[in-house]
């Protein structure tokens, strides 16, 4: 969940949605994927977050989400930062990480997406 001015952006495991402060659903994108650490993991019907860390953030133009590309059943996914248009929730780009590199935390710093990954601190330029 991330508050961006008058808007709150929320991700479940497979849906990304935005609401205004009066509760109006602005958009939903039901085609998102989990990253290794983001989201809930279930025991029976009981789900818990894996960590306290942040995997969703936004600026005035884009929403940034720790995610993975869809893979076939026997393939292993790779973490990425998926970027969505903040006005419509449409996916516009992905920033792929290295093989086996996990996203542990994510924040925005000036024009940079700042990540803690399993390889340490990483800085990636935001799209213009």
């Amino acid at each position: 969940m991330y508050v961006n001015g008058d808007m709150v952006i929320v991700s479940t495991n497979f849906v990304l949605s935005a609401y205004n402060s009066k509760g109006k659903n602005l958009w939903s994108n039901d085609d998102i994927q989990l990253s290794t650490m983001r989201g809930l993991r279930y025991h029976s019907s009981f789900g818990v977050r894996k960590t306290s860390n942040n995997y969703l953030t936004a600026d005035e133009n884009y929403v940034y989400l720790a995610s993975q590309k869809k893979v076939k059943k026997n393939e292993t996914g790779k973490d990425n930062v998926t970027i969505f248009d903040i006005k419509k929730g449409k996916e516009i780009n992905t920033i792929e990480l290295d093989e086996s590199e996990l996203i542990i935390d994510m924040q925005l710093w000036n024009d940079t997406i700042l990540l803690i990954t399993s390889n340490g601190l990483k800085a990636v330029k935001k799209p213009a």
Binding site: M1, T12, H43, K50, N53, G120
Partner: protein, 267 residues
């Protein structure tokens, strides 16, 4: 000659772009940005960076599996804990819900804006801990079933509020939850503990709590929040049983402002 100089400068520039600050704080565990500075927690300390390439200060601290932090104009507050293991209860009916996770090395500490350790207190309960909620007066940390309220200046624990009961199956479920960061607003602590939204004063007294907006709007297990959106407290839950994942908004009196089903299919 000019071409050689150009390549030398180009290579130097590229290296400068990719050389990160040398951090000696162990495995990195948490990241915060406050007033354009980067704060990083690690298993062996905390660092403040002016930029990804420039360290302002770093402080070595005793090792911990997990260190989480919050930052304001008065400095950094951090919590730690180690994960020790799981007591598997097993059984067909519990289906891992009763498994109890155990933790140790729970501490809460405070660092000045200049990077000096002000205090560090061992936790009175060994549990997973939330990111601290902070203001100039107190530090509020949600643990598995209690809220710890400490004096910001000294670290002395002022009060402990029991925020949910832990009996039988619930004990295992609560031990597995990642506690939500408390929100400090208007002299109260707002916290989402398991299936309730609670309003607690700084003496630890639970002023109010709710677990549903209506019969069909139970909070179930709240997995995120509250966060402040305008004047409303916004939080979200998991889908369980026949209910879907929902987002809720309550006002400061914990009354229903709005809610919606986010995900029709899953959590």
């Amino acid at each position: 000659m000019k071409l050689k100089l150009f390549f030398f400068l180009a290579i130097t520039f590229c290296l400068a772009q990719t050389t990160f600050a040398q951090l000696n704080i162990g495995n990195l565990t948490h990241l915060k940005i406050y007033q354009s500075k980067i704060y990083v927690a690690g298993s062996a300390g905390v660092a403040c960076l002016k930029s990804p390439t420039e360290v302002e200060w770093q402080l070595t601290l005793p090792n911990a599996d997990t260190r989480l932090l919050e930052v304001d104009e008065n400095g950094v507050v951090f919590v730690t804990y180690d994960y020790d293991g799981i007591d598997k209860k097993g059984g067909f009916w519990t289906n891992r819900l009763g498994d109890v996770k155990s933790f140790s090395n729970a501490t809460i500490g405070s660092i000045s804006s200049e990077g000096k350790l002000l205090w560090s207190q061992p936790g009175t309960v060994q549990s997973r801990q939330s990111i601290p909620g902070i203001d100039k007066n107190i530090v509020a940390v949600l643990r598995s079933n209690t809220m710890s309220i400490s004096d910001r200046a000294t670290g002395k624990e002022i009060a402990v509020a029991e925020v949910c009961t832990i009996n039988g199956l619930i004990k295992g479920m609560v031990s597995q939850i990642t506690p939500n960061q408390p929100l400090l607003q208007g002299g109260f602590i707002y916290t989402c503990a398991f299936n309730k939204l609670k309003k607690i004063d700084y003496t630890g007294k639970i002023v109010d709590d709710i677990q549903k907006f209506s019969l069909t709007k139970q909070f179930e297990c709240i997995t995120y929040g509250p966060v402040l959106l305008k004047d409303n407290l916004v939080f979200g839950n998991i889908g369980s049983g026949s209910s879907t994942s929902r987002i809720f908004a309550a006002n400061e009196k914990l009354n229903d402002e709005w809610s919606d089903d986010i995900d029709k299919k899953s959590g």
